[in-house]
């Protein structure tokens, strides 16, 4: 007996839930050769708005958790990625047209990067913070704190999983929450990763994944007054100078696009880039 395949229609990931796009739109995800793989939701500006609301609501819980706990939660995601590696390899093979070995190498790289960032959660403050010398009987201490809601345009080229992981992981380390526009033509890795996040200990709303057109959604996020930082790492093909100008109106932190195979290489700068420095004075002693 012949069996009908069940083509999937994926949804967005906003506030820990999987809603359809408010617009009701979907688009076809096709393989390198042009074969149909699945339907993905095509997010609208209102989905982006809802995602920012969810991300804002999630900040107090995520940034308020201890650094150690955040590291554990992030590390747990790496474990879940490891458990689902067959699915990720399969999707990368389908959508990027790689062979299984190359896809496996990409999944390994993504997991390694995730573990690397998870380890920084309770360490970056020691490196980025400082006890400043002052001319008086005071402690003067600077500590980095999360900036808030970070909007990210994920890398749009090959390496759909590793690019997505490299874009969101550093922002999460410090306690920021994230609204990310996934790879438009190869969104499957991002969608599967949101399924991983939904079953992990990451609170709903900490990561919000929008699939669809970055050209359509990014300007709304760049202009959104409730977004604190804008990572344009995957926005090289967009009119990203305009996005920077729009973002400057509301004093956002902005990361420029990066292209090529070295895009979004793990670095401490990507963590500290999404932080604000708080400096406190405290008397040394009362004599």
């Amino acid at each position: 007996m012949t069996r009908l395949a069940v083509p999937k229609t994926y949804k967005l990931y906003i506030g820990g839930k999987f809603p359809r796009s408010e617009s009701g739109r979907v688009y076809e995800v096709v393989s390198k050769r042009g074969d149909f793989i699945a339907n993905a939701a095509k997010a609208s500006r209102k989905d982006a708005r809802d995602a920012v609301v969810a991300a804002r609501a999630a900040i107090s819980g995520w940034a308020g958790s201890t650094a150690y706990n955040r590291g554990q939660v992030l590390y747990r995601i790496a474990e879940l990625l490891e458990g689902r590696r067959a699915q990720f390899i399969d999707e990368i093979v389908q959508s990027e047209g790689l062979n299984a070995a190359a896809a496996s190498a990409q999944v390994n790289e993504a997991i390694d990067r995730w573990v690397w960032y998870a380890g920084w959660a309770d360490k970056y403050v020691q490196v980025a913070g400082n006890a400043n010398p002052v001319a008086g009987p005071y402690f003067n201490i600077s500590v980095p704190e999360p900036t808030g809601v970070v909007a990210i345009v994920a890398p749009q080229g090959a390496g759909s999983l590793v690019g997505f992981v490299s874009a969101i992981a550093p922002a999460l380390v410090a306690g920021n929450t994230v609204v990310v526009i996934a790879n438009e033509t190869m969104p499957l890795s991002a969608i599967s990763l949101s399924e991983v996040l939904a079953t992990s200990d990451v609170p709903g709303g900490v990561v919000n994944v929008l699939t669809g057109s970055p050209a359509e959604i990014a300007p709304w996020l760049a202009g959104h007054a409730d977004v604190n930082a804008l990572d344009l790492v995957g926005a090289g093909a967009l009119d990203w100078v305009d996005l920077q100008i729009i973002a400057a109106d509301t004093l956002k932190r902005v990361f420029p696009p990066e292209n090529g195979p070295d895009a979004a290489t793990p670095s401490l700068d990507r963590i500290t880039g999404f932080t604000e420095t708080k400096t406190v004075w405290h008397t040394k002693a009362l004599i």
Binding site: R49, H224, A225
Partner: protein
């Protein structure tokens, strides 16, 4: 409204009831009112909530909503300072945009009225149509559990301090046990306590606390009772009981107001309060008012929103419409 029209209200009520406002007469009258089709009411309210209000209509709706808001703070932790900042917000809801209209009134506890009046200064309406009103909750708000003497003293106190509007609560216990005469007499007594020595009158809003009345039929009866007794406004809730204002409940009260207008030509106001937090919700109420009693009700003297957090959401929507970009909670005040 003067004392003579108040007397006329009483005469008319007595002729409608066909006798004195006793429990028996009121019961005969209120229970003679046709019952409510609850399913139909909810369906009607849901249908009215589906209208799509966009662009210029939305801009107009938002400015209308701001002009209809009773900006409220009713917390045990209220201080004169908090009331002053509330008044500042009432006068300039959006400091970044001088075109933004003022709210209709500030609503505070009775002991905070002097501070609200002082903070408003020349912007206080004080009986005129211009400026911002001061509304005070009275009669042992929110429970209403006090003797009539205490309730009247509470009211007289707020009126003497300069309140333009009194939000009273009915005795829900008495209403639910069928002592309609007692509820009626209390409203009449509070109404007379709203009169100042110079003959001017504070408007009386009667809070039905629909969340405690259990059925739509009771809401309809309580609405009729409050109007018969001379209330200028009927208000859904105190905001302290859940559920507070809902669209079907407000719709049923608007229907009473419409019927009363047809019967007597008199226009009674309606104030949904509590639980209206988004401009989207508020717009549904505007549609319901316009479709039930008509657009002429969308003025501060006949319709109000009792709300505290609604204003911020409306301001965010307003900023989105003016700038074309989404705004955030950093751009409105923290209340």
């Amino acid at each position: 409204m003067t004392i003579s029209t108040q007397l006329a209200t009483r005469e008319r009520t007595l002729s409608l009831l066909g006798g004195e406002a006793t429990d028996a007469n009121l019961r005969r009258y209120l229970h003679g009112i046709p019952g409510i089709d609850a399913v139909g009411l909810e369906q009607r309210a849901a249908a009215l909530g589906t209208r799509s209000i966009k662009t210029t209509s939305k801009a107009r709706a938002i400015d209308t909503i701001i002009g209809l808001i009773d900006l409220t703070t009713l917390e045990g932790a209220d201080t004169p300072g908090k009331v002053r900042s509330l008044v500042a917000k009432a006068l300039t809801p959006d400091p970044g945009d001088p075109e933004c209209p003022r709210v209709a009134a500030v609503c505070v506890y009775g002991d905070m009225v002097p501070y609200a009046v002082a903070a408003l200064g020349a912007a206080h309406s004080a009986g005129t149509d211009e400026g911002v009103n001061v509304a005070a909750v009275a009669t042992a708000f929110p429970s209403g559990r006090a003797s009539l003497a205490v309730k009247l003293a509470d009211t007289a106190d707020a009126v003497a301090a300069g309140a333009d509007e009194i939000d009273m609560v009915i005795d829900r216990g008495a209403f639910l046990s069928g002592r309609y005469g007692q509820v009626f007499d209390e409203i009449v007594a509070v109404k007379s306590a709203c009169v100042r020595p110079d003959g001017s009158v504070a408007h009386l809003k009667v809070i039905l606390e629909t969340g405690e009345l259990n059925t739509y039929d009771n809401v309809r009866r309580a609405s009729w009772l409050a109007i018969l007794a001379g209330g200028d406004f009927i208000k859904t809730s105190t905001g302290k009981v859940s559920p507070a204002a809902t669209l079907p409940v407000t719709l049923s009260m608007l229907e009473v107001v419409r019927d009363w207008h047809r019967l007597t030509g008199e226009k009674i106001g309606v104030k949904p309060a509590g639980g209206i937090r988004t401009s989207k919700d508020a717009i549904k109420y505007l549609v319901t008012v316009a479709e039930t009693v008509g657009e002429e009700w969308l003025v501060p003297s006949l319709f109000r929103f009792g709300a505290s957090s609604l204003l911020n959401d409306v301001l965010l929507q307003r900023q989105k419409l003016t700038t074309g970009r989404y705004s955030g909670p950093d751009y409105v005040t923290i209340d």
